[in-house]
């Protein structure tokens, strides 16, 4: 139970779990490859001698590798709470410490009694081992870090898709829409038809859109369809203000970037207010940055800031923006007594400028 908790808390740590069998195996392979390089490198030695050296070097390198593995396995729970940079530096230092210890042991128990090596040789030996260790383990740690970042991005993207899917089929929304349509059929068949078409568009977007970017115009249309459905249901309680003329329709955005924010605005902002309110959607193009602001009135009894569903959708969009645009994609939340406002910013890229499509 404890062990399980520790590993789940460790999700953010970039280092893999060195206690795992698979990881130990990977480390052994990497260490052996390094040993091969070290044994093959000195040209002045004849090939047979180099081959003989391989045994000794392997033994030494494997000791260092498995020793580091054990230490990192043991200190893992302790590294978990730290930032990646700190955990990385500490692991690096620990690995070098292990190398130093093993070098010392090798000197005192093997080289000194066996070959009668001098103290000068000792320092030389120690320094050489540390430098080689540092040069090899540094890039390996970096590789683990990059791999971890990549895995997190992939995860964020797939979670986003799943989340988008789940939130679209938020059962309340689906059944309420069905109820609205059922009510409209006898008296307002035309409106009922429109609602079915809008609902179909929304579901199509969330169920089957495999594109990773869509034109902003399409996303905004989808938002409009969504709000049209909600407007039928909420009647006068939902007022909309769109100021989006400045937005370039051809800008490429991840699908369902804005719609979940509107859904939150309705669910947490408009629905809990008996008299309803206005949702404002403002868009601007500011020095090649697209800025979209969504603002809704706040019901002071239900705290939108803490609501779980709200948080989920926002985290999700934030992560997707970060994955696509790095530090240029941002999501900001501001709220006071009366209003709740979300601002998203990301670089304007269209089909001709999109780096992925060139």
């Amino acid at each position: 139970m404890l062990r399980k908790r520790l590993t789940t808390n460790c999700d953010d740590l970039f280092l893999p779990d060195f206690c795992a069998m698979r990881m130990v195996f990977v480390v052994v392979i990497i260490a052996e490859l390094a040993a091969f390089v070290l044994a093959l490198a000195p040209l002045e030695l004849p090939l047979t001698e180099r081959w003989n050296n391989l045994g000794m070097i392997s033994l030494y390198v494997q000791w260092c590798a498995l020793g580091s593995c054990t230490v990192l396995c043991v200190v893992r729970p302790w590294l978990c709470g730290m930032s990646n940079i700190r955990a990385g530096l500490i692991s690096y230092a620990l690995i070098l410490l292990v190398i130093m210890l093993i070098s010392e042991l090798a000197y005192w128990f093997v080289y000194k009694p066996g070959y009668g090596e001098t103290p000068t040789w000792h320092w030389h030996f120690l320094l050489r081992n540390l430098v080689i260790g540092a040069l090899i383990s540094g890039p390996i740690l970096r590789y683990f870090y990059v791999q971890n970042q990549w895995r997190r991005n992939v995860q964020a993207e797939s979670e986003a898709r799943l989340q988008a899917l789940q939130s679209r089929i938020r059962p309340h929304f689906l059944f309420n829409s069905m109820n609205t349509i059922a009510s409209l059929i006898p008296a307002e068949p035309q409106q009922a038809e429109d609602a079915v078409e809008n609902l179909a568009d929304l579901f199509r977007a969330s169920l089957s859109d495999a594109r990773d970017r869509i034109p902003l115009g399409e996303e905004l249309d989808l938002c409009q369809h969504y709000l049209d459905i909600e407007a039928l249901r909420l009647g006068d309680r939902l007022q909309q203000e769109w100021h989006i003329a400045a937005l370039p329709q051809d800008a490429l955005v991840p699908p369902l970037l804005i719609q979940p924010l509107l859904e939150n605005a309705i669910y947490h902002g408009i629905e809990p207010l008996p008299e309803g309110g206005t949702i404002e959607i403002n868009g601007a193009l500011d020095n090649k940055q697209i800025v979209i602001i969504i603002r809704n009135p706040l019901n002071h009894h239900s705290s939108q800031t803490n609501a779980r569903g709200n948080q989920l959708a926002q985290d999700n969009i934030r992560e997707r923006l970060a994955a696509l645009y790095g530090k240029h994609g941002r999501l900001q939340i501001e709220s006071d007594e009366q209003f709740y406002q979300i601002t998203i910013r990301f670089p304007y890229q269209n089909e001709y400028e999109d780096p992925d499509r060139r």
């Binding site: 059962p171 309340h172 689906l174 059944f175 309420n176 069905m178 109820n179 609205t180 059922a182 009510s183 409209l184 006898p186 008296a187 039928l232 249901r233 909420l234 009647g235 629905e271 809990p272 207010l273 008996p274 019901n299 009894h301 239900s302």
Partner: protein, 244 residues
């Protein structure tokens, strides 16, 4: 049979009304858009059955049902809901009538034929299953068989005296039957215990005062009454005021 339809969505009300027109023997006496209106309409029109939506702004359906159950002749309640798996399970186990939206005519007819009044235990169970984090918006007091609603925002304090609890609010004082413990549990974030017999509204606290005898009192904004703070609760109250 007289029916009251309660739903915050106009279209949902229209649909139920249309269906009831097609069934024989039912008369829609009123429509309401939230729990508070439902309670008012129930007292004016004395419906036999209330079709009550659960998720509504202001006062939701579950809170409305709780206040309705205090009427002299409470109406039967049938809940309508779009979806909530937890609450549905509670409805089933506690034999509470509910209809899923979009409502089918046959189901509406069956539910109306079998409609019965709710008791407290049933309501309690559903409220828990629904896991609402919203605190009730109103307190209901019975005055000569009628229900008077007091917005929780307007309440200054609850003070226990003998069997009853006095509610001090913006328009005076009124007696209710709930116990202080229940009230404290119902409003953990909005009221604070200052004495074995008193809770005060956190948002109305003005100051803490000491008299010549060394007793501490709470002064409330907009209310002349000074309530004593017991020795036992003083440290907690002090700490709270310091942090706000």
């Amino acid at each position: 049979m007289k029916i009251l339809i309660v739903d915050d969505e106009q279209l949902a009300r229209t649909r139920l009304r249309g269906m009831l027109q097609q069934l024989n023997g039912y008369e829609v006496v009123a429509e309401a858009a939230n729990g508070k209106q439902a309670l008012e309409a129930s007292q004016t029109h004395q419906p036999d059955v209330v079709l009550l939506d659960i998720r509504m702004p202001g006062m939701d359906g579950l809170e409305a049902a709780e206040h309705l159950s205090k009427l002299d002749t409470p109406p039967a309640v049938i809940f309508t809901t779009a979806y909530n798996d937890y609450a549905l399970a509670a409805f089933k186990t506690h034999a509470v009538d509910y209809l899923l939206k979009p409502v089918r005519k046959e189901h509406l007819q069956q539910a109306l034929a079998a409609a019965h009044r709710l008791n407290r235990a049933q309501l309690q169970a559903i409220s828990e299953a629904e896991a609402r984090h919203a605190e009730p918006s109103h307190i209901s007091a019975r005055i000569k068989g009628n229900i008077q609603l007091i917005a929780v925002d307007n309440i200054y304090f609850f003070q226990a005296e003998h069997k009853y609890v006095t509610v001090g609010y913006s328009d005076g004082e009124v007696l209710i039957e709930d116990s202080l413990i229940t009230l404290e549990k119902k409003f953990p974030r909005r009221f604070m215990r200052i004495h074995r017999n008193a809770l005060v509204a956190i948002q109305h606290i003005a100051a803490l005062e000491k008299d010549q005898q060394g007793h501490c009192h709470i002064k409330l904004k907009g209310c002349d009454k000074h309530l004593e703070i017991s020795r036992r609760h003083l440290p907690a109250v002090r700490k709270f005021i310091k942090h706000h």
